[in-house]
Assembly symmetry: D2
Homo-oligomer: 341 residues x 4
Amino acid sequence: MIKIGIVGGTGYTGVELLRLLAQHPQVQVQTVTSRAKVGTQVADLFPNLRGHFDLAFTDPAQEKFTDCELVFFATPNGTAMQSVPELLNAGIKVIDLAADFRLKDIAVWEQWYGMAHACPHLLEEAVYGLPEVNRAEIAKARLVANPGCYPTAVQLGFIPLLEAGVIDPHHLIADAKSGISGAGRKANVATLMGEAGESFKAYNVSGHRHWPEICQGLNAYTPVDLTFVPHLLPMIRGIEATLYANTLRDISLEEIQSLFIQRYQNEPFVDVLPPQSHPETRNVRGVNMCQLAIHQPHKTVVILSVIDNLVKGAAGQAIQNLNIMCGLPETSGLTGVALLP
Amino acid sequence: MIKIGIVGGTGYTGVELLRLLAQHPQVQVQTVTSRAKVGTQVADLFPNLRGHFDLAFTDPAQEKFTDCELVFFATPNGTAMQSVPELLNAGIKVIDLAADFRLKDIAVWEQWYGMAHACPHLLEEAVYGLPEVNRAEIAKARLVANPGCYPTAVQLGFIPLLEAGVIDPHHLIADAKSGISGAGRKANVATLMGEAGESFKAYNVSGHRHWPEICQGLNAYTPVDLTFVPHLLPMIRGIEATLYANTLRDISLEEIQSLFIQRYQNEPFVDVLPPQSHPETRNVRGVNMCQLAIHQPHKTVVILSVIDNLVKGAAGQAIQNLNIMCGLPETSGLTGVALLP
Amino acid sequence: MIKIGIVGGTGYTGVELLRLLAQHPQVQVQTVTSRAKVGTQVADLFPNLRGHFDLAFTDPAQEKFTDCELVFFATPNGTAMQSVPELLNAGIKVIDLAADFRLKDIAVWEQWYGMAHACPHLLEEAVYGLPEVNRAEIAKARLVANPGCYPTAVQLGFIPLLEAGVIDPHHLIADAKSGISGAGRKANVATLMGEAGESFKAYNVSGHRHWPEICQGLNAYTPVDLTFVPHLLPMIRGIEATLYANTLRDISLEEIQSLFIQRYQNEPFVDVLPPQSHPETRNVRGVNMCQLAIHQPHKTVVILSVIDNLVKGAAGQAIQNLNIMCGLPETSGLTGVALLP
Amino acid sequence: MIKIGIVGGTGYTGVELLRLLAQHPQVQVQTVTSRAKVGTQVADLFPNLRGHFDLAFTDPAQEKFTDCELVFFATPNGTAMQSVPELLNAGIKVIDLAADFRLKDIAVWEQWYGMAHACPHLLEEAVYGLPEVNRAEIAKARLVANPGCYPTAVQLGFIPLLEAGVIDPHHLIADAKSGISGAGRKANVATLMGEAGESFKAYNVSGHRHWPEICQGLNAYTPVDLTFVPHLLPMIRGIEATLYANTLRDISLEEIQSLFIQRYQNEPFVDVLPPQSHPETRNVRGVNMCQLAIHQPHKTVVILSVIDNLVKGAAGQAIQNLNIMCGLPETSGLTGVALLP
């Protein structure tokens, strides 16, 4: 059994890690920390975990994780970077589910996250944990930056088109919609059910932190100009991204479909639906899967991409990265079936 | 009091007409028909109307509406066109909330609606009831085609830009999202709460009937190429359309904002929010209002447009048209405040 | 025009007061205070009010309300009692939408609300503002304690039975369910959409502050033993209370129905549905109405009671009380139609 | 591998059986029938099952299930009884998830279900599949009647009290609330999202088919008088039942808690929470578990019981019964963790 620790187990990515790891046959959660809940049983805070964990939250300031092979950070941005150097020095692998190590350009990171980076020397070493792009690097990594939820859905949809060079990279549009769990589990008026229920809106249209992350990923293929508009859905789990691109040459829907099929044929967690399908977020609720569908109304290519923001967009992808980093089968612990209805 | 009739009072646009007309000081509902509910009290089917109507549904086959000045059709597509000629001949004005008279090109209509048109000679005469565009024609009309919900939200957002000639008309994108009430009140697996709740998807990406309607409206300014993708929201009321366009020249956000302010300065039912606002659908829940906001991340212009699909997208706009057609103040009966939260 | 002030205009009862008062023909809102939002335009915080108010929040510490005839407190418990004596001395009438003046027994109040009362001498004078019970006293009152939401729904359902003496008062059960807006608009993990959406639970089963309030009201007829269990619904507006009582003698459903019809025949805001109806909360969404229905499966009487917790359960009832206190028609400003769907 | 068949795989209990069986290590689904969807791939109808089943729906009229050890009926009431005798004669075990074999009294069954029973001679043999009561009989059964959803939640809550003889059996009240999936997946106006969303109501107060089923179960302990009121929740999955009973003698909360702990100490799928807990339906979303909590405000005992109506209330309990009938570990395939949030 691989022994792991979790820093910050009281948010939605934390409880989702716990839910998924409870069902992982080769991993044992050794330690879960929470500054606010020291001493509280995990299953008292999250009663869905009753019978699955006999573990109390411990104080992160006291934890050395010396018996852990790998530590997940499910903490707010800016927390992991305070502790990661020490853990790496102690020979412990780290997967950060927050944004501390996602961007390679320190200036860009500091601009978007509004703080000084505590360990800029690690940005180069950190591997961006999108296995469909960086599998080999992840396997060798000590430190993995788990991708953001929107960036996962958007990149997986654009990559086959950019790799094949069939779309104009200067007019990419990503119209993305997320369930409320993406905003986290902190007390906040804007995410109260009375505010976010039965309503819909775009937000952060002028700039969202996931925009530079997506651009960094896509720029690896060719420099892109991307317009990214996130929206808030009146539901809990799920991201849908509708992606628009103009083709550079006459290309049929069948040919585009083939590009996607080939690109992802060996990927266990990307599922290309038949042409003109309409994936629903519930198709992937609770599971580590991205469903993609391709349309071509008139000359614009439209890609539909759905994930569960807490799974393929966070905790599930983190476990996929753990599996790769620790030499386990990549699908280990990630074989559940989505909850529908 | 202007006496009016409603054909098809059991759907969502029907009950919304009744809700709004109950509060209209100069209109009296004389007759409401329903094939399926003949003899049932309106307030027994819709208990929110208890105390507001003492009226039973009557048989549309028997109704001549001879005491009515104007008749609304809140019926499925293809129904109004069977009866409209007779009503017009009897001197009765008609507003059709369905699509029978929205398209000028008979071939396009028959292709998208899959049936032969029963009175093509009226298509030319029928006025498309978007008051912000056709107010003068509506005032003189005998027959008004009330716009679709998506077309209202999308056209109001693009029109100032096309009128001013500042955007490239060949790469317009409308990513639109609607609450489930837009799908009507008929028994249907796809719109069960168990199917549509807590999930989100695009639908009809390859072609939606509102696409030719929007194009017809926008083509009046300049020929456009529009990609239109509708999505289904897990909520009841509200449409949000996020519109994307490339500018043809350097133009500042302030200048675009001015275009919108000027275009709609005298419009009682279009409200241009301050630059970079994020309108929520709940801001207009239950009221006849379109809220617009303008953003300009990088070089693309992004317009956010929200309406209540049943009000400014259907029954409210129909009453606005009635007011114009009958010489009433345009805001009569439409001065309510949106229900928030 | 009656000039009024509102203390605490940023919560859900505050914005609901503003929504309803915007449509009140004889009342003008002169002042709205908020400690946290001094200087902010009301319509910037609540965009549904755009065009209806040109008013900024002011500092409650600075306001004397000298130009107001009546002041509403839409504040947390314990706030109104600090300022009410001064306002009454200045000849200004007060309606408190919180609980400061609802209970007559100071010891009970201090036990349940966990603080010392600032003006216990006013408890005797304060009139409990349930117009269906205390209309005459309300008309003469300087200070009205607006009832709680659950207490309104529960009392209106039990009163006809207790008045008629046909039920055993020692085994009353009220199983009540409320939408999330009843929990207010403050930042709070428990009422996040991620916590309260798509789930349902009972809460405060061992004791809820509305229990002594309901008991006080029912004890006026005969001493009662009441079990009251509140539950949280995954929706925004609406309370449903299912009430259970054992009859003391053989009594038919028709006879019970008659009791209710007679009791409420002159009440504009209580609507007794036909026997065996099943009122839905949406029937009264946004309006000042209580719908009641009576059932008698086997020997137990079951009363179903629905209100909108923010209207008949808060702001609407407060305006009903204002109308009575100020000699206006009781239904003034309260004639809207519920929003369905 | 135990080979099984499913009759009627297109409803919510059908797809839930498929979801759970996909994860069952000792069971293989051989055949799934559907009259309406013959030839359609299971995973085309339910895209959450992509990659888990390579199986098309077959025609129930043609299926003999000769290679199956056990067949589930996930069909409307009145369907299973047409085919069960033939299957039993062929040596195939049957679990009916509908109501055909739940009631022992043929007259009561025919009254509540409004049809003649096709094989009344099997009612005596059929075992009511509540493992916490009938485990030994289930182990020997050829035919198991899987309990209804409400009856599971209500019986598990009352049984310890009735067994111990500590409550008055003549004044039992069960106020139960269910998510919309309990109403099935058939086209129906009443369960549209536009009708059932953002609203709440009681239904069938005068009589619900689960009332005689619950009474039959409880009468096994002592004759009871039960008032049962079901309600419809604006969410998809979950049942909460709040149960009220009067104690026959002075008994402390601790003593009642002990009764429950002892009664269910060896039950893998009943979890008694600490006293005064408030179980939420999401605690058990997607899993085969009943969480119970005990309260005692004043003299009435209040039991809170939550299940997922599609799991412990249907498909999960059916698999629990299969495990018992086929000699598998009772928890096989049922060890998942509830999806929260």
